[in-house]
Symmetry: none
Subunit: 210 residues, 4 copies
DNA sequence: TATGAATGAGTCTTCATTCAT
DNA sequence: CATGAATGAAGACTCATTCAT
């Protein structure tokens, strides 16, 4: 019976379909993160979004698509470089730069890894994610960014000439991923983490030996 | 209406409560692995186990406990050393030994990581898991095993004296974990994996330089 | 799958939420009265109401609330003065007026007492009822009505000046209650009842002695 | 597998069927009174009785019979004169004797009335009760006892010669019943009750006028 | 286009009852 | 005769989805 979206939503979205979609995806994300994917019912999402359940279906084919897109979108956003971190080749020690990278990555990964992992419980959802990921533009990839930093350092001679920068970057990313996974698994809510000895090992390993 | 358990089940369990519990846990695991945790309804599990739905409740308080124990048990089993792999310090190259370790670990981790990750979707389940894990005996830990191997090699002089074996082991484990995670995420069903350049990097890094 | 309410129901309720609520409460009452409270399952009620089981939950939080409200509402209705009975002080004999009152009360009490008693089997329901009754407006109370009649008669001198009208009214109400209880207990389906000698005793007792 | 009843039960029953039956009925009564009839499952009763669920069926045809007999037996017991109360015609005032009777009756009725009322929720149970009650020996009836006391007092001239003692007794019983009903309905746990003005009215009414 | 009531399949769970031991 | 595990129907309740308004 009540036709227009609530004033609040219209105000924030301008009533544009794409903006409303994103408004819903934001709501879905909040629900997933606070209640868990298993509790992210269409009702809960609609409620969080401040709209009627039926309205969801004007923007998404079904719950699966809504949830899949919620996750995908967040993965995409979190994978973007934030600009906050600018590793400056030649400045600071390699080790401290890598520690900074790790700490910085944690912010995003603490959200990204559990979110992605949640999808492992649902075969259909995971398949939806997989096929969407195929098509996705692998625009930004933190590993690539890290690799490029290392390559710069290598040019500067601060990283051993024989270093496989791709391998090192990949290793560091794995460490970050696994850390985030373990943190969530044990319910560790600390936002920061001590310096990792694994990173020290790597920094040492890539230091040129005169 | 009530009948004894099916002959098949009695045959395989001897009708012993503990064996039946495990029979059910096995069934639950199969359902979780083939249909996903989200589809692991009590009915589906009972059906897979070949028993009536109500029978589950003679062995488990509720679905949450059943599922949590299924996962915990499998984690426990998969964390046991298989005995199949015996890293022999001093034999073969370090690099090839590490590659063997990684390949071997993958077998278990391809199951372990997705299974654990599944629980990330369900707040209650994850909490149940967490508290059980607190109490669990961390009997075997692949990282420890790997670390000990590296220490032996260091004693033998095949690993650089300055190597932090704990850090190296931990790094390798993270690589394995993340690989398993990524494999499941992209639906990679290949059971074997090419040699990892990350491992080569590590092997190189810990090689003594004289 | 989802369809509007059946035409029949829409016709009788105008599709208004409050009317539908009452339609459901009516159905629940019919079930309780014909099958007993113990058989008043949500299914049975939904079926009697001609709606889907899930629809109940659009109108009531849970079964307990539905049942409690069904009972409370009926108690409320049955406790209203029907207007059919108008005891006229000064007209007819006191005894016959009291007999009329008793007979008339029986109509409501034959429904009210067993309905209320049903709730005695369910601790939760009884508690729900109790707390609702606390809040309820004790608008009409047959005892009060009877007491007022007696007071009028006393003013007219047809009831002894020393009569405690409240006590007499209360006594008569108790008799009515107990009769209804006993009738239901023994399954007495007679709608009318012979003149009660207890009432005769009371009528006699309050007659002024010159 | 374990064959004999628990030692405790054997000790208290002598292993005699009839004693075991009563042991079970006692247990059932405790469950009904503490949890309500609706929660008196066969399991709960068996558990309270300290026996296995299946054992119930050696003593009772089904749950309905068990519950019906539990209630009937208790009604029977509670209807027995306790011997504690001996109304002594000619001693004390009539009013105080009646008050004593009422107070004394309350003890039993606070149990009897709710127990009986519970059965109103279950058509089948009530029918079972009804047919059993038909056959029951109406051995003791508090109304009869009270009536006899009043007749004695009438003989002594302490009760008006014109008093219909049966009607008076019946009225008092109704008052007691209704009081117990109302007490349970409102959850009144007070065990004693103030002097009732209704009883005063009756006492006054039956006092001889010279 | 947004609504939200209605749907009914499906979820977890309980329970009276049976029967092999 | 006691046991208690097994049964499966039935219970209360949830939820994704549809569609008349």
């Amino acid at each position: 019976m009540p036709r227009p979206l609530s004033e609040k939503i219209v105000a924030s979205t301008g009533g544009e379909a794409e903006a409303i979609r994103e408004h819903i995806l934001d709501a879905a994300l909040r629900v997933i993160q606070s209640e868990g994917l298993a509790s992210a019912s269409t009702r809960a999402i609609a409620s969080e979004a401040g709209i009627a359940p039926g309205t969801l279906y004007n923007y998404f084919g079904d719950r699966l698509q809504l949830v899949a897109q919620t996750i995908l979108r967040r993965i995409h956003v979190l994978s973007q470089p934030t600009g906050e971190l600018e590793l400056q080749p030649g400045k600071g020690s390699i080790a401290s730069n890598l520690h900074i990278f790790v700490k910085h990555s944690s912010l995003a990964l603490d959200e990204l890894v559990p979110l992605t992992a949640s999808a492992f419980s649902d075969t259909d959802l995971l398949n939806a994610l997989r096929s969407e990921m195929m098509n996705a533009d692998n625009a930004f990839n933190p590993g690539k960014y890290l690799q490029e930093y290392l390559l710069e350092e290598r040019k500067l001679g601060r990283v051993s000439r024989t270093t496989d920068c791709a391998a090192v970057a990949s290793t560091i990313i794995s460490i970050c991923h696994d850390r985030a996974f373990q943190r969530f698994l044990i319910g560790d809510t600390r936002k920061t983490e001590a310096k990792l000895k694994e990173i020290d090992f790597i920094a040492e390993a890539i230091t040129p030996r005169d």
